[in-house]
């Protein structure tokens, strides 16, 4: 599976792979029943798409970050969106991945596998331990008690303190440490609620929104607001560390761009609505 993803080059082939996988493997059982052990051993097609896209995540030299996938990218690579939503929900309940709400738009969500997220927290813990002497046991409590228990992307203050106090006495400095480490961010609307966040992701999010704008303006400046996919893929974005395939998938999934089949290949066009 890993080799196949590395060797094939074009995005269209990737999408065809995801479609083939769809036909080969059925979705994990009847979605309404409780997931049994044999169902969770099979691959659902959202899972295949997630693994493929995780393998394609671009390496960024400046920031050390584990791969994540945006929800809109999943929508563009699996045909049925309702199925994507439901399978994500099943995978989330099985504790295989976590979903985070991003602040780069109304409905942006990032999906990260649980192992990657825990690795990211490890990295942050190490960095904090090197830099200052303040107690980083909160991060351990966070990993042990909060992440296991709370599956939604947000948590409120009371519940956070309650879960953390399973490890020891909770002080305000502990919560500040969690926020400084980047694991929690305060919600703008409600001062008592926090969003879970991916640490060290700030510069990448900036690159994400700027890259989106750049790609959209690139296409809008053209006379007919469209371009062939093959030459478009080879371009490099100036403002974003993420590659153009990432942005293309994201914009197609969120509806800003649409693809059309033409005799000479796929064409990407700005959708008007």
């Amino acid at each position: 599976m890993g080799d196949k993803s590395e060797s094939s080059g074009s995005r269209k082939r990737r999408r065809d792979e995801a479609d083939e996988e769809e036909e080969k493997t059925e979705a994990a059982g009847d979605a309404d029943e409780a997931p049994s052990l044999e169902d969770s051993l099979m691959f659902s097609d959202t899972l295949v798409a997630l693994r493929i896209m995780r393998a394609q995540f671009p390496r960024i030299d400046k920031v050390a970050i584990e791969p994540f996938v945006l929800r809109s990218q999943l929508y563009s690579s699996v045909k049925d969106r309702t199925q994507v939503d439901r399978e994500l929900e099943t995978l989330k309940r099985e504790n295989m991945l976590r979903i985070f709400k991003l602040n780069t738009g109304q409905d942006d969500h990032a999906i990260m596998f649980l192992e990657d997220y825990l690795n990211q927290i490890e990295r942050v813990t190490k960095r904090l331990e090197e830099n200052k002497k303040s107690d980083t046991e909160v991060l351990e409590w966070f990993k042990k008690y909060v992440i296991d228990c709370k599956l939604e992307p947000s948590i409120d203050h009371q519940e956070l303190c309650l879960l953390l106090s399973n490890g020891g006495k909770v002080k305000d400095e502990h919560i500040s440490l969690l926020i400084n480490a980047g694991l929690l961010t305060r919600q703008l609307i409600d001062p008592n609620m926090y969003w879970f966040a991916i640490p060290n992701i700030g510069s990448i999010l900036k690159g994400l929104s700027q890259g989106r704008k750049e790609l959209l303006s690139l296409l809008k400046r053209r006379r007919y607001k469209e371009m062939m996919l093959a030459p478009l893929e080879k371009k490099r974005l100036r403002l974003s560390p993420l590659d153009i395939r990432f942005h293309l998938r994201d914009l197609i999934g969120s509806g800003h761009l649409k693809t059309l089949c033409t005799p000479t290949g796929l064409v990407v066009r700005v959708s008007k609505d």
Binding site: T82, Q106, L151, Q158, E159, S165, I175, S271
Partner: protein
């Protein structure tokens, strides 16, 4: 078509399946009607449309130039094009010149559910007026604390005649027509209330959606709301019948009762204060679950009263199972939805299709799979409201371009449209 009728007559097809086949065939093929046209007298965007529930004959529209108009959608006022196109002009229209008319935009206009003798309009000038249809006079006036976004009356009510009003104030007020006063207020929302709908299965249950993103269910006989929809409480599709149902929702929501139990264990939460024992109705105000990440701009309860479709300013449409209060995770593909005004959605009679105004087009979604089955483009500007008439299988839409468009099936109807009598012979 004749063969199908013959089958039904002979008993080969059951009448219900014949009816549903015909209606679903008509409603799945909607286009701009080529035989019916509504001439709109409005000079402002059309904000609200409703066909009366008793006869299905009169269409009431409210517009942003403070005007209200009533159209007869079954009998045309004149014919054009040699009898091929039926033009429907307004039966009467109330505009700003009327003595008792609204001063600012009319945001909602609804019929009294029992008969068409009364209708109710709510406007941005903070008033809700009850009008007598035959004399077009204002019978009753209710002053609200803020701009009225929506008013609703229960179609099932037999023991009350309350108008539920959602305004930019945080409280939902219930106005009583019988006494002319406010009966009570429902508080719990933390921002204005953009959508108000009565349940189609109980005359006491009200569903409201607020600008804070919460959808609350109220039983008006009790204090407080009895359910707040949370978008993270999910179920995968329809619930199974009772015997085989398995509870996949593991975690419990944190409610007031939960906090009390945790306090009893001797642990005090870090920053919070000890909760006083509160009335169970007031505890619901502490529940901050949101149904959408932005404001809730539209909601629609299906005919059988089991599911709720809600639209939010985060451009998502969500389908909720009312009984369990869970998000069914059906994904409706919408790129953008209007965020500043409430939108009015419609569902087809058998609840198979949902019609949602998405910017300048109206999209018809299959309710359970979320796919777009039709995109109806005809308005020049944003569409605000739509209404599906299940009697005629027609969709009426109103938008910012001041037009009311009729969408119907393009197949010819069996009964020939009445042509003008052009000659001098008596019939």
């Amino acid at each position: 078509m004749w063969r199908e009728i013959a089958n039904r007559e002979a008993g080969k097809t059951r009448p219900n399946s014949f009816k549903s086949r015909v209606t679903s065939g008509l409603s799945s093929d909607l286009q701009l009607s080529n035989h019916k046209d509504i001439v709109s007298p409005h000079r402002g965007s059309v904000n609200s449309l409703q066909v009366d529930l008793t006869e299905g004959r009169y269409l009431l529209s409210g517009a942003a130039d403070a005007s209200t108009a009533v159209f007869d959608v079954q009998r045309a006022t004149e014919y054009e094009g040699g009898g091929a196109i039926a033009k429907h002009r307004h039966v009467f229209a109330i505009d700003k010149q009327h003595r008792a008319a609204h001063k600012f935009a009319v945001s909602t206009a609804i019929w009294y559910p029992i008969d068409t003798g009364l209708f109710i309009t709510g406007s941005y000038d903070h008033y809700i007026k009850v009008w007598d249809t035959n004399s077009t006079q204002v019978v009753m006036n209710f002053k609200m604390p803020g701009k009225v976004y929506r008013a609703a009356m229960s179609p099932l009510a037999t023991s009350h005649m309350l108008i539920a009003a959602g305004t930019e104030d945080v409280q939902v007020r219930l106005c009583d027509i019988a006494s002319g006063a406010f009966s009570h207020t429902l508080s719990g929302h933390r921002d204005g209330v953009m959508t108000v709908e009565w349940s189609t299965s109980s005359e006491w249950v009200l569903v409201t959606g607020g600008c804070d993103g919460a959808i609350r269910f109220w039983d008006i006989r009790r204090a407080g709301c009895f359910r707040v929809l949370d978008q993270s409480r999910t179920q995968l599709g329809r619930r199974l019948p009772v015997l085989r149902r398995s509870m996949t929702n593991k975690k419990k929501t944190v409610t007031g009762n939960g906090a009390k139990q945790q306090l009893a264990l001797g642990r005090t939460p870090g920053k919070g204060s000890v909760k006083l024992r509160m009335h169970p109705g007031l505890l619901s105000t502490q529940d901050r679950a949101t149904a959408h990440y932005g404001a809730v701009t539209g909601s629609r309860v299906t005919e059988d009263g089991m599911y709720l479709l809600s639209a939010g300013s985060d451009s998502r449409l969500r389908l909720w199972d009312i009984e369990s209060g869970c998000n069914t995770l059906v994904n409706f593909e919408t790129a953008r939805l209007q965020t500043s005004k409430p939108i009015q959605m419609a569902t087809s009679g058998d609840s198979r299709l949902a019609f949602v105004p998405c910017m300048t087009a109206v999209k018809a979604f299959d309710l359970w799979s979320g796919e777009t089955s039709m995109v109806l483009r005809g308005h020049y500007e944003n569409v605000n409201c739509c209404w599906f008439s299940s009697q005629d299988q027609e969709l009426y839409t109103g938008g910012n371009d001041r037009q009311i468009l009729v969408w119907s099936s393009s197949k010819p109807h069996e009964d020939v449209s009445v042509a003008e009598d052009g000659d001098n012979w008596s019939d």
